[in-house]
Symmetry: C3
Subunit: 358 residues, 3 copies
């Protein structure tokens, strides 16, 4: 079983075809799942990409293995030979994909869908989901159990909201947007005007607009704009527990790793990569194709194509150089001490202020 909830049984021949590999062993044997070499059981497909796992192959219980030509394979394990076993694995995974969890046939009787909602064909709304008045749900979109779609929100076609997702009033999702459990789209931006030491709330009347093919991670938060919109461009992928503040604009095909945070009004280009736990100050601009290291703290603009890291973030090469210099600090202190003691001795034999009166 190897952890696949609704595994399909796949013949080895189909796997060989899929990866363009040759099969050594029975092509009619079937596998029902994929697993790492140590954890694989009978009925599993495994793979050998890293030579350090070669020894483990001898004891694996896997039924078949994706393996490079020429690498020894123990008897009893079917070898599917392919030049790049990891790439082959990625191609094979969809064969086992049980697809998204089923939601409901149409609207579940316990779902609360306002009468003033527009539902496209083949919409599924799960148990105890709530869809408020004025919402528009595109064809084939599925809203799982206990999810919430606010007043006037618009979801495109073939979206999938996992259980417990919140989409706030007026927010707009494109097509094929996938939102993992517990994510919040359209919470209020964090905006307050200080008045005599107290904070008065600035109404957050904007929305969030999410492009096609975006994926949003579990318990991630995207705030609505103070006015106008917070924008996530098409194809962008956002990991779990990411924070995106009001009026941020992220362009297309950008990847934002877990627990990163982006402060208000910052603009991020296309094809950018943000490492885990990175933080971006408000009102900065990150150019297209830039890369921000994990845990970096970005307090100014980052030019297109650059790699920044550290805190405050700077070009990664500089950061590495400084890192190296800091590592040398104890040696620097030793060298200064040596210089000082050399100089202290020097004057006695002719050099130094004390002898100036000579």
């Amino acid at each position: 079983m190897s952890g696949i909830a609704a595994g399909r049984s796949v013949p080895i021949a189909e796997i060989g075809e899929r990866v363009g590999g040759s099969v050594e062993g029975s092509p009619d044997a079937c596998v029902r799942g994929v697993a790492g070499i140590e954890w694989a059981r009978e009925g599993d497909l495994t793979f050998l990409a890293n030579p350090k796992y070669r020894a483990d192959l001898k004891t694996t219980r896997a039924t078949a293995v994706l393996i490079a030509p020429g690498v020894p394979c123990p008897e009893g394990v079917i070898a599917v030979r392919t030049e790049d076993p990891y790439a082959a694995l990625v191609r094979v995974l969809p064969l086992f994909d049980p697809g998204l969890p089923p939601v409901s046939e149409g609207v579940h009787p316990t779902a609360l869908v306002s009468e003033e909602v527009s539902l496209g064909p083949d919409v599924a709304i799960g148990p105890q989901a709530v869809v408020e008045a004025g919402a528009e749900i595109g064809p084939g979109t599925r809203i799982a159990a206990q999810a919430y779609v606010g007043e006037g929100a618009k979801l495109g076609a073939e979206c999938y909201l996992y259980p417990g997702v919140f989409v706030g009033r007026g927010c707009v999702l494109g097509d094929r947007v996938r939102v993992q459990p517990g994510a919040v789209i359209g919470s209020d931006g964090f905006g307050y005007a200080p008045v005599k030491g107290q904070y008065r709330k600035i109404p957050q009347i904007g929305i969030v607009e999410i492009g096609d093919d975006v994926e949003i991670g579990a318990n991630a938060c995207i705030d609505r704009a103070t006015f106008g919109k917070t924008v996530i461009g098409p194809g962008t992928k956002i990991d779990n527990l990411v924070q995106i503040a009001h009026n941020v604009a992220v362009a297309e095909d950008t990847v934002i790793a877990a627990q990163s945070g982006i402060a208000g009004s910052t603009r991020i280009g296309r094809g950018v990569r943000l490492g885990g736990q990175s933080g971006l100050a408000g009102h900065v601009r990150i150019g297209d194709g830039a890369s921000i290291g994990a845990q970096a703290g970005v307090i100014g603009d980052v030019p297109a194509g650059e790699t920044y890291s550290g805190y405050p973030a700077r070009p990664h090469r500089d950061a590495m150089r400084r890192e190296a210099a800091v590592r040398k600090l104890p040696e620097i202190v030793r060298r200064i001490r040596a210089l000082e003691s050399a100089l202290r001795r020097a004057p006695r034999t002719g050099a130094g202020k004390e002898r100036e009166g000579r």
Copy 2:
């Protein structure tokens, strides 16, 4: 429509009055939303606060603009002249505020409200919300869909819990507390006693007590006290994904930016500002009015009024000085090398140990 879910139509004359500005153009024209200068459409109000956007004004499709006296405004855009366009904008936003999303008329039939609950007048409880026995809900408080209020919890007047909020057993909220979607108030504190390499849970029997006018961000977590209470003072604002551990006490009018974390028993004064992703160790004290930089790691007390940053956090001025010193490290190494070569040459011409026997 610039992203306002339930926009009102506001005459320009009303805007001019609100900001005490003069109108150039038709005061009877109406705007229905607010948007940035590039994204504004017909029917929107925009503003020009930053001179670098002056060029964009020429091509904006906005109907009206908040703009300083003397700045050129293209024909066809109604100008509302005011000395500080951004401040004017903040004053104008409430005109467009659609207010909090409606929850329900009274208790929704699918809400599960225990019979042993005390409900004030004008309480609204949304679909599939759960309110357990012994809870007390103050007048005008609204509990949105799918929110949860535990046994014996007490909510004051005019609170608003967004969908999916959790308020645990016995926790207490003051008046006008607003809790964004998915926030958790009253999860167990993280307390374990190590016994022979294993961890035995210490019961977390305290509560969380939240003062008036507090706002708590989406998916933020506030743990209940081990015993006694975790306290959030009146007027304090907490952003998304913030973690507040057991027995922390935060005084009034403090602002805690997204993804910050405060470890157990730490005490934070009034009017403090914590930057995003900052972390505070347990059992430290942050004085009134202190300011903690984004991503700072605070491991000791911070005096009132001080600004701390970096890791480990120290006075910001020191941190900047050290930062500058580190930046000079490569130069320092060069200077040491120069000194060393100067000294190496020096002895040959009279100074140095080698000649001492002379």
Copy 3:
């Protein structure tokens, strides 16, 4: 009432017995809660562990105090004398523990439990919880209101899911697993294959497997494996807002503090401690008993038993040494300047290149 939702009335004599202490005052008096010395009210038990709170004891309104022998205790407060008042407190807390909040008698009528579910004896499923087809729920397990258990998920005995918890399709929990509100177990791993500048989703077909006696914090996220499983070993404790990526394996009795993040395929040994907001890169190994400081950024393996801190994380002793060296930087610059000026003077009195021609 010091914040205990369902306080028991406990006679002082019982407390004295429990901690093996002697009682000075009426052993028949009762306390109903525990509170810190400043916040305690009549009917509370307090404790004095830290001498700096001695003054507060004079004005406390507590009924009784856990206090070391010989420390003065004001009249009117019952003293329970014990060598280690804090340890005594930990032993006493369970007396006041109201236990986990009640969930339901059996399956609540508004819960949606598929007919194809296997329920052990004494299972409780709260209002509006959803349990999908093929799930197996062990004896005595309680699933609170609004929680979600996906298709084919397996929960052991005596587990407790708080409201709003998500357990995804096929995930497996051992016995006595406790999951705080809003936690997500089994969200998709963050896996995409870049294809011509776009990201194509790699199906995440694995599961999450959680051992016995694990506790998972509020709004924490544990991703399912790409294939195979993400594993949390028995006895491990995970705090709020922690991120655990696909295919991570955490061994037993490890403690992970709030807001930490562990990237894909990293392996963590047993008895490890991760400080708050720490981040671990993917594919690293943390040896048994290692300790990672708060906010550390770990980018390579950490040997068993070592303490690492800083970014990039290194042995804590080195990090401290570097920290000390950086602190000395301004002094280093001064010393270099002194050396330079000494050398500048030196040549004039006999040393230096300028005189070589002499």
